[in-house]
Subunit: 339 residues, 2 copies
Amino acid sequence: MTRRTTGTTTIQTVADAAGVSIASVSRVLNGLTANEETIKRVNDAVKAVGYVPNSAAKSLKTNQTGQVAFAMENIGNAAYLAMVQAIQPVLRAGGYRLLLHSTDADVQDEIDVLRSLGQRYVDGLILCPLRVTRRHVAELKRAQAPVVVIGQLPKSCPNDNVRVASRPGVALAIQHLADNDRTRIALVDGPVDTVPGKARYAGYQDGLKQAGLEEDPDLVLFADFTVDGGAKAARALLQQKRPPDAIFAANDLMALGVLQAAREAGLDVPGDVAVVGMDDTELAATAWPPLTSVSLGAQERGRLAAELLLERLSEPDRPRQWVTVEPRLVVRASSGEAT
Amino acid sequence: MTRRTTGTTTIQTVADAAGVSIASVSRVLNGLTANEETIKRVNDAVKAVGYVPNSAAKSLKTNQTGQVAFAMENIGNAAYLAMVQAIQPVLRAGGYRLLLHSTDADVQDEIDVLRSLGQRYVDGLILCPLRVTRRHVAELKRAQAPVVVIGQLPKSCPNDNVRVASRPGVALAIQHLADNDRTRIALVDGPVDTVPGKARYAGYQDGLKQAGLEEDPDLVLFADFTVDGGAKAARALLQQKRPPDAIFAANDLMALGVLQAAREAGLDVPGDVAVVGMDDTELAATAWPPLTSVSLGAQERGRLAAELLLERLSEPDRPRQWVTVEPRLVVRASSGEAT
DNA sequence: TTGAAAGCGTTACCAG
DNA sequence: CTGGTAACGCTTTCAA
């Protein structure tokens, strides 16, 4: 029966109050075998002294933190937000807390997060990188905790992985527009030097080919992934001698910019020009006209990634899992009939 | 010179490699006084063995975690998202990691978060409660770590606090509508039994009084804080014998619903009916017509809360801080001239 | 079933 | 300036 002088209430405080050893308290608290009588006394003591176990001490002993981190570019981006929303409940159900890392589109930050895994402040990580460099690969291989990657990943990486095929997603949209008798379908893409930008352009070409349409270089523009970027590109497009009768934008923000440009030009959507976006964010549903958009299943990817991580955490040696989410066309008014 | 058998690389591994004591390694790592030579040897050893300090052990010793939590209802809500975006960089600059708690509009969850502070897994908490019950107050008083509260708080609470005067914010909007010659100004409010709902209603009455307008009970409706809630209420409003010529909605989502209802009714905004929202989220800017909205400074509140918390963390005994953010009317097209 | 005691990986005190 | 060592609060053997 040791007395402590400090004000902190520890397992020792409980032991003293219950008149048992700290070992017994620990056992009761962890639901291990113990005498009825002991259990009661410990539980009473816990309440009486208002004991709450110290997580640092527990972590140090068990080598588990009960925490998982999610690292992405910027939570302001609707796609990442959707992921967080899906990840959160899964982790919570599994008894894990969620830590957020915004990497601000900085590769070095992503690497740092991977490195910091050595501090063991989390049990695992969900990483959604902009693109995967050789440095990523190197760090992923030596990561000190399980990492689930959302996004494209080289086969050489040993990590669990969730991805979406955005390229066929774009083709889906082009196909849809062609089916609705659009023949001059433009692409407002993001920067070409990004992975998403390249994938969308490729999907655009695939779609045209499937629909039996020729690619017209005048109908492809690259801009920032923003409302303004989309608006500028669309203005240029709509002022051409032979303007498009449909515009596919590489994300919903750009698509909103396209809608704006169409309104400025006094054009009716979808009467004069159809518009389709990508990501199917909240913005798509609340836009006017409601925006047809290709869903890349951000929520689903988040949920799956969280589930994969929890499974890996409870079964470290299971085989590596790769899962692919299918894109889905969500049709709304903006791609309706031409007039 | 102790050898370890385990595979974990600890401070002892470094000490062995550098041929110094673990005490010296610790000193060098923490930038305390040490010999040039020693410093070099330790740093070399650290790199050589790839040492990363264990955060659980450090926390246990120092009683600091380097983590801060932010608890709010649901990060899907644009206002909370804005807060997170503002909180993140401040914490990061202060060397803290961010932990996220979604309480799902559950008072018990908020209480649990407060209680769990006893586990000491964070150094502090930013709490944005739906409303503050007596139980909140009780827990806030005995909280085991500094808590900064965003929102209304009884004077009896010892916590740092950031709030916004939403009531005068609403009055601002009503005033603006009246200035633009609107005389039948409706209120689409959230649930009356919520703090925000009450504040908005009061602000609405203030605004009418200031503008010298009579309150018409037919022009006040309560609904959910959602697009659908706003749409339903607006439909009812617009079908009345004497419909409103302006509608103030308690948040942007509801305002989008109002816009939708107006379109369905074939009414022009702002020609036939002006619409004003609240929160000034991204949705307001991208809506059509662009939505006039009252900014409640979510970003600013988040940033301030984070700053207050960091200051409190470094100076625990400073006097309690209360700061109020001013609402701001952001005028866009939806509240333009009547026809 | 229980208690004593040995760590987990750090930091910080105290001698030297 | 340095090394030995005692904590920090908990879990988990090992004996009793």
